[in-house]
């Protein structure tokens, strides 16, 4: 079905490839130019440092009037990301704006890795762990990073 790809998506894709942001890569799939394979490097100073996290990102027909669908494929110990990789981030839901882009979404997710927010959790058990024993939670997060996100 895929009618002509909107020029906005073409432009965004070109820019993602030609001017990549540090620690972020997004490449469209060959057979579906609305599906992107994403990799985010764990930010320096976070428990995810050293890890490379794979995500998938899909632009629906409504994009940019509706947010892209993003999900972690690599397992991660994070209070705002559940075991299915779903992400609790306002701009991916009610705070979406068509002025946002793939790149701004990925930067926000990178930011979320640097600053976990246990007060707005998606994975309740991880959030509880984070609130009660932040040091222990960080240790677990590091262990998961070593176990699942090392290339």
């Amino acid at each position: 079905m895929a009618a002509n790809l909107p020029r906005r998506i073409i432009k965004e894709t070109q820019r993602l490839v030609s001017e990549p942001d540090p620690g972020i890569s997004a490449t469209p799939s060959d057979d579906n130019l609305r599906y992107f394979n994403v990799m985010i490097a764990g930010p320096t100073g976070s428990p995810f440092e050293g890890g490379v996290f794979k995500l998938e990102l899909f632009l629906t027909e409504e994009y940019p009037m509706a947010p892209p669908k993003v999900r972690f494929l690599t397992r991660i110990y994070h209070p705002n990301i559940d075991r299915l990789g779903r992400i609790c981030l306002d701009i991916l839901k009610e705070k979406w704006s068509p002025a946002l882009q793939i790149r701004t979404v990925l930067l926000s997710i990178q930011g979320l890795l640097s600053a976990p927010n246990p007060d707005d959790p998606l994975a309740n058990d991880v959030a509880d762990h984070w609130k009660k024993d932040e040091a222990g939670a960080i240790t677990t997060a590091k262990a998961w990073t070593n176990k699942f996100a090392m290339v």
Binding site: M1, A2, A3, N4, L5, P6, R7, R8, I10, K11, E12, L33, P64, M65, A66, S97, P98, A99, L100
Partner: protein, 510 residues
């Protein structure tokens, strides 16, 4: 078009915006509440159109554009403004953050964030806020931006015939049209405001090849193309037929009017005559001997044929003789076979007919009145390929049979042939008791079928005194409701036929 609904807000907005940025269509004259304030309204301003209740079709066509892509081009098929703009500097500020292309009919929020009119309308449908600063916003709060419009009008752009479509190698379903610089395209640049006027007259605009071919023709080269197109029609100098120039080479090796040489005898002739020449005249052509059917295998050049005929006359004669006798033998064999087949067929038909018994019923109503006649005859019936009938004399056929019924079986007089042997009986049936019928049995007769005028041979067989007339009464059971029931029971024993020579032609068999 008549403008029906206008809010005061819109009047002010439109009044202030003239002259408007004309990108898509011609200006539309509006007869409104205050014509002096805004005598010209730009039809290409989609929000204006959508909110002012223009015809439904125009609204739908805009929605169609929106569904396809947020950014619009001057025309749906052509390159977009982004493809054509000359100076990239300063242009980033005039790009819509939603479609990421140069603003079309710019609109701004209270804080001055700019969007294409259609893009922001689509966004406000989802969420009533500015996508950039999230200040609460609705359709009526959107404002035009004179600065942006002025900047866009003054934008330096290329003519759209500066670019050409890049042939995409990707599969058609995700083929995006890519526009690349046409090395032979229009080099003119002008402000965006002047674009439409130029492009409507631009000589680089594509045009159709007048010969229906897929040639790349431009408006300014149409006339030259008439005499340059490889698909133009020309007349063949030889056969005078109209052909396409590109097919001339093909035609030249087929044209029947072109003079060529026979490759055997080198004689000159039109190509169309070559076949006939080779078949009838060419002295160098190998032809078979006229006696090939009689077995002469010689294949010599036409010019040498007379010599061959002379040299081989004796052998040809021998061949013809042999051939003829073979044919005669074959014919007589064929004839014998076909005769035998016919004989067999006749015999099988005879066998099929022999010993077959036929019963023919003749029921006579109103016997009491019929019997006053001297002779009564049944209808004809067919048997063994011949026609027959029965005849009854209620009071005898001749004086010596008076007081008796005479009953005969007759052969219809117009039958021809040799002889038919019959065994038959004639009966008068008893209605009450079938076993007491009156029977005259044991007729055996050879009906001669050849007319012999000198012999007065009767063609009827039966009994002169079949039964006394007074036997036939209701009381005896031979009449019922005045109905007399006669039955002939016939067995064909033997048929002999004579056939004449059929009138067939065997002329030309030799």
């Amino acid at each position: 078009m008549l403008l029906k609904v206008l809010t005061g807000d819109e009047v002010v907005r439109n009044a202030g915006s003239a002259p408007t940025f004309n990108l898509l269509g011609p200006n539309t004259t509006v007869q409104g509440i205050t014509p002096n304030l805004f005598s010209r309204v730009n039809q290409s301003d989609p929000l204006f159109t959508l909110t002012s209740g223009f015809s439904a079709t125009s609204v739908r066509s805009f929605e169609g554009n929106v569904a396809m892509d947020y950014g619009q081009s001057r025309d749906l098929d052509g390159p977009t403004l982004d493809d054509l703009v000359c100076e990239e500097k300063d242009i980033e500020e005039y790009k819509c953050p939603i479609c990421m292309q140069i603003l079309q009919s710019p609109r701004q929020c209270k804080n001055g964030h700019l969007y294409c009119a259609l893009c922001i309308q689509k966004s406000l449908d989802k969420r009533a806020e500015c996508p950039q600063c999230r200040v609460p916003l609705n359709l009526s709060e959107l404002a035009k931006s004179l600065v942006a419009e002025k900047h866009l009008r003054a934008l330096k752009v290329h003519c759209k015939y500066y670019l050409m479509r890049e042939e995409s190698k990707k599969p058609a379903h995700n083929a995006e049209v890519n526009w690349i610089v046409d090395p032979e395209g229009c080099q003119e640049t002008f402000t965006q405001e002047e674009a439409e006027r130029h492009e409507s007259k631009c000589g680089y605009a594509p045009d159709l090849c007048m010969f229906g071919a897929n040639c790349r023709v431009r408006k300014m080269t149409v006339e030259e193309h008439r005499d340059a197109c490889p698909y133009r029609t020309i007349t063949c100098d030889h056969c005078k037929k109209e052909i396409k120039l590109v097919s001339l080479e093909d035609h030249n090796v087929k044209c029947p009017e072109i003079v060529i040489h026979c490759e055997l005898c080198q004689a000159e002739m039109k190509r169309g005559h070559l076949r006939e020449h080779r078949r009838q005249q060419c002295p160098e052509e190998d032809i078979p001997c006229a006696y090939s059917e009689q077995g002469c295998d010689a294949q010599v050049k036409r010019k040498q044929m007379p010599r061959h005929m002379e040299e081989s006359a004796a052998s040809h004669l021998a061949r013809v003789s042999q051939h003829l006798s073979q044919q005669l033998f074959q014919m007589s064999e064929d004839f014998k076979q076909s005769l035998k087949a016919r004989d067999d067929k006749i015999r099988s038909l005879e066998r099929a007919l022999a010993d077959q018994n036929f019963d023919i019923d003749w029921k006579m109503k109103n016997w009491s009145s019929l019997k006053k006649k001297s002779y009564l005859q049944s209808g004809e019936f067919e048997l063994a390929g011949l026609k027959w009938y029965m005849g009854i004399y209620p009071n005898g056929d001749l004086p010596d049979a008076r007081g008796h019924i005479s009953l005969f079986l007759f052969l219809s007089s117009n039958c021809r042939g040799q002889k038919v042997g019959l065994r038959f009986s004639l009966r008068i049936m008893n209605h009450r008791n079938p076993n007491t019928k009156i029977v005259q049995n044991g007729f055996r007769a050879n009906f001669p079928l050849v007319e012999r005028p000198e012999e007065q041979v009767s063609k009827g067989w039966g009994a002169k005194r079949f039964t006394p007339c007074d036997e036939i009464t209701e009381a005896n059971g031979y009449l019922k409701d005045d109905l007399l029931f006669i039955q002939a029971s016939i067995t064909v024993c033997n048929i002999r036929w004579e056939v004449e020579t059929a009138n067939t032609s065997i002329v030309g068999y030799w």
